[in-house]
């Protein structure tokens, strides 16, 4: 177990939200075809409110902080927010489309000690990228920003969301990332819109494409290991937690709503009404999420994939049951190993429903691999 895993275990034992994802705005200068957000401002938090939330996160013990949106630079106070977060010594990652980053912003981000900037690129071809963002010239400006950030010595990673519109371009984006000396991660995430509109799910990549992705060693590393048949789950799996959401991680919206994760829309409270630590410790919803163990999962506890599946409880929740299967992850497990999941067998599916077009489903694939070494560690001093 590495040092960060040890710290995570310690945070779990102590009930500390070690990681937080904080969307400071939902406003955006791009209109990406696959985006799930409502970009109108329905009363996002003020600068002072956000600073107060950051203070509360620091007091609660949060170390890893991601500031995201929307587009974070749509807030004129964004660098002030970053400065405050860094004064509180968070390990800070910023997610942005980078269109509004020029040399002064890059210099400031570097001076403030931001750990990493994650930038979305959909294609190496402007006509494809700009068609997805609906912002003419956006790829050119984003690439310029990456050069400004790299020139400052900042760590940059490119997140490449895969969907039908850019299905054949991930190799090109990967090559572009390599050429620019930045990390690359494939992140084919298409989820329903916040208003419940499922139409954007038409952009999901067909499940039949997944075997090709899962057998690409540049994306997954050791293919044999990655695609190996599942092993029989042990007691550790049955007693284990589905993921860190609500255990050592939380999400905060621009309106102050607190959720277990950005993809787990179970409202646990609002920081405009309660202290963050009270929500974290006392929310019945958080307690409900925390009560779930591997053996409590309907269908999945009897599935051979349960020990290796990337089942997302948030996606399961959006399908109707946080203890149930996440069909999108059944799909991944099936196309990764060729072995049907218990959920598929139960429903009589020979292939997952996205391929059979039986129902609209979510396609959500966590980043498969980051092309950079894990943080270096030294022994306790």
């Amino acid at each position: 177990m590495n040092l960060i895993e040890q710290m995570n275990d310690k945070a779990l034992a102590l009930g500390v939200p070690l990681s937080a994802h904080f969307d400071v705005t939902y406003r955006c200068n791009e209109r990406c075809v696959h985006c799930y957000l409502d970009h109108d401002d329905h009363g996002e938090m003020t600068t002072d409110e956000i600073k107060s939330v950051l203070d509360q996160l620091a007091d609660a013990g949060t170390f890893f902080l991601s500031l995201s949106g929307g587009e974070v630079f749509m807030r004129r106070d964004f660098l002030e927010i970053v400065a405050h977060a860094r004064r509180l010594l968070f390990n800070l990652k910023v997610k942005t489309n980078a269109v509004m980053i020029r040399e002064p912003e890059a210099q400031k981000l570097r001076a403030l000690g931001v750990e990493q900037i994650q930038i979305s690129i959909y294609s190496h071809r402007p006509e494809v990228h700009d068609a997805i963002t609906k912002l003419p010239g956006s790829l050119k400006r984003t690439l310029q920003a990456i050069r400004f950030l790299k020139a400052q010595g900042l760590k940059v990673s490119v997140a490449n969301v895969l969907m039908t519109e850019n299905l054949s371009d991930h190799k090109g984006v990967q090559a572009l990332a390599r050429e620019m000396g930045v990390q690359y991660q494939i992140d084919p995430t298409v989820t329903p819109k916040m208003d419940g509109d499922h139409s954007i799910l038409n952009l999901r990549i067909p499940g039949t494409i997944l075997p090709e992705v899962f057998h690409d060693e540049t994306l997954v590393g050791n293919v044999e290991e990655f695609c190996a048949p599942p092993q029989a789950p042990g007691e550790d799996v049955m007693d284990g937690l589905p993921c860190s959401a609500g255990h050592t991680a939380l999400y905060i919206s621009p309106y102050g709503d607190v959720y277990p994760c950005v993809q787990f829309p179970l409202s646990c409270g609002n920081v405009r009404q309660q202290r963050l630590i009270d929500i974290w410790k006392s929310s019945p919803e958080f307690h409900q999420v925390r009560s779930i163990r591997g053996r409590d999962l309907h269908t999945c506890s009897g599935c051979g994939h349960v020990g290796s599946c990337t089942r997302c409880p948030g996606l399961a929740f959006m399908e109707g049951d946080m203890r149930g299967p996440s069909t999108a992850d059944c799909e991944k497990s099936f196309y990764r190993t060729g072995i049907p999941s218990a959920n598929m067998k139960k429903n009589g599916w020979t292939v997952p429903p996205s391929h059979a077009q039986a129902q609209p489903i979510l396609v959500q694939i966590h980043p498969l691999r980051v092309e950079s070494p894990a943080p270096k560690e030294l022994a306790t001093l």
Binding site: F63, V82, F90, N91, A111, L112, G153, L378
Partner: protein, 101 residues
Amino acid sequence: MAETYIARSTAIAARMLGGEMMVMSALDSTFFTLDEVATVIWQAADGKTPLDRIVTEKVCPEFDVAPDVAFNDAEEFVRELSQHGILLVSDHPIAEKQDNA
């Protein structure tokens, strides 16, 4: 002999977790956890207080350790963290760096 002054770099992240200080360098992503003694030195690294005073006034009384032993350990600790840019070391007091956001 010249005094040694130490200051925490601004390019780090840090948080106390259950009595241990986690520190990560934003420069090279090196991740450390500091034990209680190292944490005391870390917290006292204000750029103004000489290392030998930190050791004699903060470390020795709290941990009941001989000054020469504590000072040798502290020097090694400072050397290691400074190699990763996590601690700044000087023979003069180090002015606090203000961010200008």
